[in-house]
Symmetry: C2
Subunit: 243 residues, 2 copies
């Protein structure tokens, strides 16, 4: 017998390594079996497009590994990165549930594995198990709160403060703590995407980075960031701030 390539985590959602972090965790038993039968995993290289804004919805995606960027674009070429999708996150559920075209584009930012769930399967599961809908609702509520928070910050915080905030968020996911309390972060984004996330241009971001280095708060080398003291970063967001 030829050895069978390990497909355990590809074919059986019930033993998926991100199940407990995903929306599908509300399912069990037969529901999980139905899910498994309607799922196909696909591997993407970095920089591939999963779907375009305006495309018709063709099911829901679940991030198995890697990193996905969700963005809005327009005819003039403006592009704004709205959020990042990590393992366990669900993509495309909104346009599926609204019966509309995709309102955002999604692309891989790293080599990524995605599980695609067929629309009929999602519909079937939603009908069998109402808690799945409520789970999607929780996800939407959470995303909405994050969006509101971003809007609020774009009005009340400076570009520098917003970038520092973004750095702190990225540090949580992509940072490696060092024994001496400092932290190294490998940014998963280009300067342009970082800039669009805080609502400015990449040239401006470049200057903000320059000032952060001059102030000794962080050191940048390409996509590598070294933060000597996370606390010093966090203090920049405090109300009582000195220039």
């Amino acid at each position: 017998m030829a050895k069978i390539k390990c497909q355990v985590d590809q074919c059986a959602c019930s033993v998926c390594h991100v199940l407990q972090r995903s929306d599908w965790r509300v399912l069990a038993g037969d529901d999980l079996a139905i899910l498994s039968s309607g799922v196909a995993m696909r591997h993407y290289r970095a920089g591939e497009t999963i779907y375009w804004m305006g495309d018709a919805n063709r099911g829901i995606h679940c991030v198995s590994s890697g990193l996905v960027g969700v963005r809005k674009i327009d005819a003039e070429g403006n592009s704004v990165l709205l959020r990042l999708g990590y393992p366990g996150d669900t993509l495309g559920y909104r346009s599926f549930l609204m019966g509309s075209e995709h309102k955002t584009s999604a692309e891989t930012l790293e080599p990524t594995a995605l599980c695609h769930v067929r629309p009929e399967t999602v519909a079937q599961l939603l009908e069998r198990n109402p808690s799945l809908g409520l789970q999607f609702l929780r996800r939407a509520s959470d995303e909405l709160e994050q969006a509101h928070h971003a809007i609020f910050q774009s009005v009340t915080l400076s570009n520098r403060q917003r970038f520092v905030h973004l750095l702190l968020v990225l540090a949580r996911r992509h940072g490696r703590p060092r024994p001496d309390g400092s932290r190294t972060i490998r940014l998963p984004l280009s300067r342009g995407d970082l800039a669009s996330m805080i609502g400015t241009r990449h040239e401006t971001l470049s200057r903000i980075i320059g000032r952060l280095e001059a102030d000794g708060v962080a050191n940048f080398s390409g996509r590598l960031v070294h933060v000597p003291k996370l606390d010093a970063l966090a203090e920049e967001l405090e109300p009582g701030m000195a220039a």
Copy 2:
């Protein structure tokens, strides 16, 4: 017999004048009766607070008439108006479903009538009729899309363009078309709130308004706006724009 004050639209949701515009329209029969029994209408004057950001959730509100403002505030006194609630809109459903405190404050911007639905009633209805949850999900999706759109615009449009866009949106709800094609709008918001909605300060908005008047695009007198040609306004949002 003393005349009974008309309470038809206050006590029976099944004949509510905004039912078909509200999330509750997915209910029928017994469900509607249950809703009615768990609902109480209350009249607010303009400027009253319905709930504060940080308050524990105590049920869901449904706007019957009037206008509600949903905003985020912080300790320094920054305040950003995030959206407006019109008759038929639902308030407070997110914190209810997430079991969290309110993430935003809500206040009346005009004399307003709200129907309050007790938490137990909402829970009961959600359990009896899964489509209610899906309806809330549709609402959350819609709000999320609007929030994403706002974020995108805050990056790609100028302050003036964002204000023009806001004017066009307000014109739809609060504008009165004139026979000659012009339009009069009664703004329901102060300059400060208008400014926060486009992400700037009230002084800056004042100057934008001044320029709009100088350009003959619109005339402002307090909260009254007169727009000679709506098309001229809409053209400001077109890609090919001259200074």
